[in-house]
């Protein structure tokens, strides 16, 4: 479990740098379109699959950084143990079943797309299958992080 925790941390630490090419590519599509009239769709498509990978890992980053939006108007009056128990209930009844449903229902869709190295339908540019793979990555990371959340010794907030 410790290895898994470190691996997820390493993945998130690497993924955060994707923000820089995403900003650059999405910015560049405007001058490329209006000034050069070239490669703006390529910039958009590339930005799109980088965006998909970025947001796919961002959910787990938010979980580890305890950044998810929550209303603690009432819960702040609860004991620490009660809040821990509620958090675990959320993992067991929300995160884990959802990630399993997504993994199961998306498996064949993603597999077929990846085997075909599916291209973007509008432009024919390569890499569309990466967007579908990102969904699998998202669900897998949520599942792994959910399991890590249930293991007290490994839980380490903000460990990216």
């Amino acid at each position: 479990m410790r290895f898994l925790d470190q691996f997820v941390g390493f993945l998130l630490a690497a993924a955060k740098w994707l923000a820089l090419p995403i900003v650059t590519l999405l910015f560049l599509q405007w001058p490329l379109r209006t000034m050069l009239g070239l490669y703006s769709r390529e910039a958009n498509d590339l930005g799109q699959w980088l965006f998909a990978l970025y947001v796919a890992v961002s959910i787990t980053a938010a979980t580890r950084a305890r950044a998810h939006l929550a209303a603690d108007t009432m819960a702040r009056h609860y004991s620490h143990a009660a809040r821990e128990w509620l958090a675990r209930a959320g993992v067991v009844f929300g995160l884990i079943p959802w990630s399993i449903i997504v993994l199961v229902t998306s498996w064949s869709l993603v597999r077929n797309s990846t085997l075909l190295l599916e291209r973007f339908p509008d432009t024919g540019n390569p890499g569309y299958f990466i967007i579908k793979l990102a969904l699998l990555l998202m669900a897998l990371l949520v599942l792994v992080q959910g399991l890590l959340e249930l293991m007290p010794p490994v839980r380490r907030p903000s460990s990216q």
Binding site: A52, H68, A70, A71, M74, F93, M138
Partner: protein, 491 residues
């Protein structure tokens, strides 16, 4: 059993509200737990074909490839960059120069909120920036803690209605989907509204609300406070560099806003441009060394995840609600509201306002809007007007004194106990202004159509009679057949 399923969906919504308020679990996790419970209960009862869940991956992939949603990380990154760069401070100092008398710190704080809003797009980022830059100066001016909190809360939400804010973009997308469903259902020949229409429609109400907030801020703080420390305006006079930075920033904002408003570039491109310029400025000025950049990117990734997870969770729950037929149940209720356009709109807005007691704006956009707005737009042809009304209701939800997101964020960031009655008193003038604006837009729909060209109009005269409309609406309410899952537009 089948006829009970829509009610199960409705009870899930109630469960979500209670779960968010009473458990303290992240709202997205509550939404997912409710969705999983609904799916399992539906499947076990045998009333709902479990294969319908197969539509979930497609819907989630739609999110991952949605051009508009690319704005989320861009805005979040801009917000975190603004927090680290000296831009907010320079803007605040320059606002102080122009603001009159003892109310200058408050008026400048509100003006700063309006300037930062379109840049960072998110209420949370605005709260952080305002708390760091304006709050100490407000305190030094002898302004009480509840009033300071109220100013920061309200100022941080100004960006919600000023394009191209994140809330506005996401609502624009939700309205596009809702309007497409409505016009498809009843065969009206309307042009489906887009985010640009919502931008334009919100401009005049946003300007009115900003003016009202500035006047309120000035009026309630126009007299010197006994504890005021000193001539703050002199102490905080901007340096030449700060003045230049402020001028460049305001010019950049105006160019971005103008570009988006005139359709010269898309909101996402404007956000990318803003983020790129800020990054470049940070690198050139040497204010983004590697450890700081590392921290900014880490924060941006986590905040993006928090917002995107809500979107993912809400998409899952709305699919389950559709499978259970809850959207049809609600559509039937909205169709049965007596009276005309106004009464239906008022009741739906009241429902959204009620949801705002337990859900924040993002959850409302992702969960409530897809359920209640399509049937409303079947009755109400003016989609732009409805969009702006929903936007104003959402903005009001941010400053809901009980659990409004901006209020909670301000309380958290200020790290001081703020008595609720005092905070409520300080927020009341702004809440009244918000309510007055909502009423004005409700009764004067033309406020959302100022400067609208004939070609821009989405509203067209009804192509069918009221009787035919009712007949088609009845056809939309099959009580026993599972609802079609492909009614939402794909981008």
């Amino acid at each position: 059993m089948t006829e009970l399923m829509p009610w199960l969906g409705l009870s899930l919504l109630l469960l979500v509200g209670l779960g968010v308020v009473f458990t303290g679990i992240p709202a997205a996790v509550v939404l997912l737990a409710a969705a999983c419970f609904g799916a399992v209960a539906g499947a076990i009862s045998g009333a709902v074909p479990v294969q319908l869940l197969g539509a979930l991956p497609e819907r989630l992939i739609n999110l991952l490839e949605n051009d508009l949603l690319q704005a989320i990380p861009l805005y979040v990154l801009m917000g975190t960059l603004i927090n680290r760069l000296p831009i907010a401070d320079a803007l605040y100092r320059c606002c102080l120069v122009f603001a009159p008398g003892p109310a200058a710190p408050v008026v400048s704080g509100i003006a700063l909120g309006a300037l930062l809003g379109p840049m960072n797009g998110s209420v949370g980022a605005s709260v952080l920036a305002l708390s760091r830059v304006a709050e100490p100066r407000l305190a030094a001016s002898g302004i009480s803690l509840p009033r300071r909190a109220a100013v920061i809360t309200v100022a941080s939400t100004l960006g919600v209605v000023v394009p191209p804010s994140l809330v506005l973009i996401l609502l624009g997308d939700a309205m596009l989907n809702a309007h497409t469903i409505a016009v498809t259902a009843i065969g009206r020949d309307d042009r489906v509204i887009n985010t640009q229409d919502v931008f334009h429609g919100a401009l005049v109400p946003a300007a009115l609300y900003l003016a009202a907030c500035l006047i309120i801020g000035w009026w309630f703080n126009r007299r010197s406070k006994p504890g005021e420390t000193a001539p703050l305006k002199t102490a905080l006079r901007p340096t030449v560099q700060q003045a230049v930075l402020a001028i460049v920033t305001v010019s950049a904002i105006l160019i971005l806003l103008g570009g988006v408003a005139t359709g010269y570039f898309y909101a996402v491109e404007a956000a990318a441009m803003g983020g790129f310029i800020l990054l470049l400025a940070g690198f050139v000025s040497g204010r983004l060394p590697l450890p700081v950049l590392n921290e900014i990117l880490r924060e941006a990734l986590a905040l993006t995840g928090a917002l995107f997870f809500l979107l993912v969770a809400a998409t899952t729950l709305t699919l389950v609600l559709r499978i259970l037929g809850t959207d049809q149940l609600v559509a039937g209720w909205i169709a049965a509201i007596p009276g005309g356009t106004l009464s239906a709109t008022v009741i739906v807005l009241a429902g959204i306002a009620l949801s705002a007691l337990v859900l924040d704006a993002f959850e409302i956009i992702f969960v409530v809007v897809p359920i209640v707005i399509p049937p409303l737009l079947i009755r109400v042809a003016d989609a732009r007007w409805v969009a702006v009304l929903v936007l104003l209701a959402l903005q009001a939800s941010f400053i809901n004194p009980l659990i409004g997101y901006a209020v909670m964020m301000t309380r958290t960031v200020l790290r001081q106990a703020i008595p609720f009655p005092a905070l409520l008193r300080s927020l009341l003038p702004y809440l009244f202004a918000q309510a007055a604006l909502l009423l004005a837009v409700l009764f004067l729909p033309q406020l959302t159509h100022v400067g609208e060209g004939v070609d821009d109009r989405s509203r067209k005269p009804p192509a069918i009679s009221n009787e035919e409309l009712e007949r088609r609406f009845e056809q939309m309410l099959p009580p026993t057949v599972p609802p079609p899952l492909d009614v939402e537009p794909r981008r």
